[in-house]
């Protein structure tokens, strides 16, 4: 089908090759962006191009504060879901009361960072790609440069910084809400008091588990920001191009988050 139309196996190889080259190029670009983004933070003042704190706040508001309702709802749901599933599974062994351990560990180490990362990728990673893509096709990026404003300093560093702060904060919030959600179900289903539940939770998790989750979420934050910017910056071809870049940013960011998460689990369970 598609393969033969493009000239058989050679065509396929050609396309794979091109995709690989593009991919490597994008990873390199992302690394450069990260370096440049951090550089402006450090040398911005000396070069008379400081990163504006008010822009960071604006982004933090957009990325973090406005995401609180949806993070709350989903974290609560995940907590309840884990409790239902845990109790159901453990009932076969008559070990329902051990469910707290499962909830506590899976929420803090896996589910809170993951669900928060995915939500932020969908809400803010896409918005970042769309904003930068639109600014590119309307020549606003060129305008920044000729005004003498480094676009990375003006657009990327604030977003990166805001993500880096807000995603872990949201993740911590998701930790709390998901644990509460699980606790509510457990207390209703097993008749355990919430106080007893949280005692058990605190026994089950170490600070390490929470930090593990938060650390991961910080990495997700960087991935979301960089992927959003790289896709936005590569927009060509008008409004349709912006749409494509936005979709691509979300798909890539979620994939990157899930794959990074798997690598983490693999490495840390060795």
């Amino acid at each position: 089908m598609a393969i033969s139309r493009d000239g058989g196996v050679t065509g396929l190889l050609d396309r794979i090759g091109r995709a690989a080259v593009t991919g490597i190029g994008e990873v390199g670009y992302a690394a450069t962006l990260l370096g440049e983004g951090v550089m402006w933070l450090v040398v911005g003042h000396a070069r008379r191009q400081p990163v504006r704190i008010h822009q960071v706040f604006q982004q933090a508001m957009e990325i973090g504060v406005l995401a609180v309702p949806i993070v709350t709802v989903l974290a609560m749901t995940i907590g309840v879901m884990l409790a239902i599933q845990g109790i159901h599974t453990l009932r076969t062994f008559g070990a329902e009361s051990r469910v707290t351990l499962g909830i506590a560990l899976s929420v803090t180490r896996e589910f809170a960072p993951l669900i928060t990362g995915i939500l932020v990728a969908g809400r803010s990673g896409s918005a970042l790609a769309a904003r930068i893509g639109t600014m590119r096709i309307t020549q606003e990026i060129d305008a920044l440069r000729v005004i003498g404003i480094a676009p990375v300093r003006f657009l990327v560093t604030p977003a990166l910084l805001a993500m880096l702060v807000m995603v872990p904060v949201l993740t911590f919030w998701a930790d709390c809400v998901a644990l509460l959600g699980g606790g509510l179900f457990v207390s209703i289903d097993l008749g355990m008091s919430l106080g007893a539940y949280f005692d058990q939770v605190l026994d089950a998790i170490a600070l390490d588990d929470v930090l593990h989750g938060l650390g991961k979420s910080a990495i997700f934050a960087v991935l979301i920001a960089l992927i959003g910017v790289v896709n936005g910056a590569s927009v060509t071809g008008g409004a349709e191009g912006v749409g494509r870049a936005t979709t691509r940013a979300v798909v890539q960011a979620i994939s990157a988050i899930v794959i990074t998460d798997m690598i983490f689990v693999f490495l840390l369970t060795r």
Partner: protein, 282 residues
């Protein structure tokens, strides 16, 4: 550059770099997009206080040339000197400094959609000066007065009409009192009345501030109204540089085609035409 220089001579320091020499000097500029040779050995000098119109059909390389003048693109070979400095050899800090002396009104305005018109116009001041809020506001209002847009500072760019967006873009471009003003297709997409008002604005800017102005356009009427000199670009080559009269009198066939709105002479070479149609299959 006849009327321009006689009316207002630029300050001594404006031309310090080249003491009376050109403000912009392009020499042996070549550019490629991939394998395509887009600008072919361009040489062009732009004098202080003149309005230079770069004219050509679409795809002739006008925007590419403009991007080189702004230092947004780097040439494969050749140099662009702005106020005596080779723009592709400057450090970040030097480039920023030089750019404070250049203003650009982009084709679509390129106003930042998340800021009000007033904030847009003040942005260069906010970034490059330590003026207080009140002073910046007053300066922005003065420039808005110049472009006939007073009272609109609190609107968002999306709330402006096409002509007003262009005016706001001009106000932002001149807020730092640049020595050189670049305008990309200033009258494209505007109705004739608004377009001629923009032409008038460009003439006023030169006369009132003595700016050197580079205008990129494909609109003949506008070009001949405002130009001190015209540079005709065709398929990446400069056909002629001269006063409007000299351009009109040119005997170059491509220039005449352009002036008489004749399409490119594709039919002149039937073999090449056939070749293009068949995609090289014989």
């Amino acid at each position: 550059m006849s009327q321009a220089t006689s009316q207002i001579l630029p300050d001594a320091d404006e031309t310090a770099a080249g003491a009376g020499g050109p403000v912009i000097e392009v020499s042996h500029l070549n550019t490629h997009y991939g394998d395509r040779h887009v600008l072919k050995d361009l040489n062009l000098g732009i004098q202080p206080g003149e309005i230079m119109v770069i004219m050509g059909g679409s795809g002739s390389g006008k925007s590419t040339l403009l991007n080189h003048l702004l230092g947004l693109l780097h040439p494969t070979s050749g140099t662009v000197r702005i106020l005596g400095r080779d723009i592709s050899k400057l450090s970040q800090v030097e480039l920023t400094k030089l750019r404070c002396k250049m203003g650009v009104a982009f084709q679509g305005g390129a106003l930042f959609s998340s800021m009000t018109v007033g904030e847009n116009i003040m942005l260069p001041l906010r970034e490059h000066t330590k003026l207080d809020e009140q002073t910046m506001r007053i300066m922005a209002r003065m420039k808005m007065e110049v472009v006939n847009l007073a009272g609109f500072e609190d609107l968002m760019p999306a709330e402006l009409s096409g002509g007003m967006v262009k005016r706001a873009a001009f106000a932002r471009a001149i807020i730092m009192d640049p020595k050189i003003l670049f305008c990309d297709e200033p009258s494209a997409g505007l109705d004739p009345v608004v377009a001629s008002a923009i032409d008038q604005l460009i003439l006023n800017l030169r006369d009132a501030f003595g700016m050197t102005i580079v205008v990129v356009t494909h609109e003949l009427e506008s070009a001949f109204t405002i130009a001190d000199r015209i540079c005709v670009l065709d398929q990446g080559e400069i056909r002629i540089v001269g006063t409007p009269e000299e351009v009109r009198a040119s005997e170059d066939a491509r220039v005449q085609d352009l002036l008489n709105r004749r399409p490119e002479g594709q039919e002149q070479d039937p073999d090449a035409y056939l070749q293009r149609l068949t995609g090289g299959i014989h």
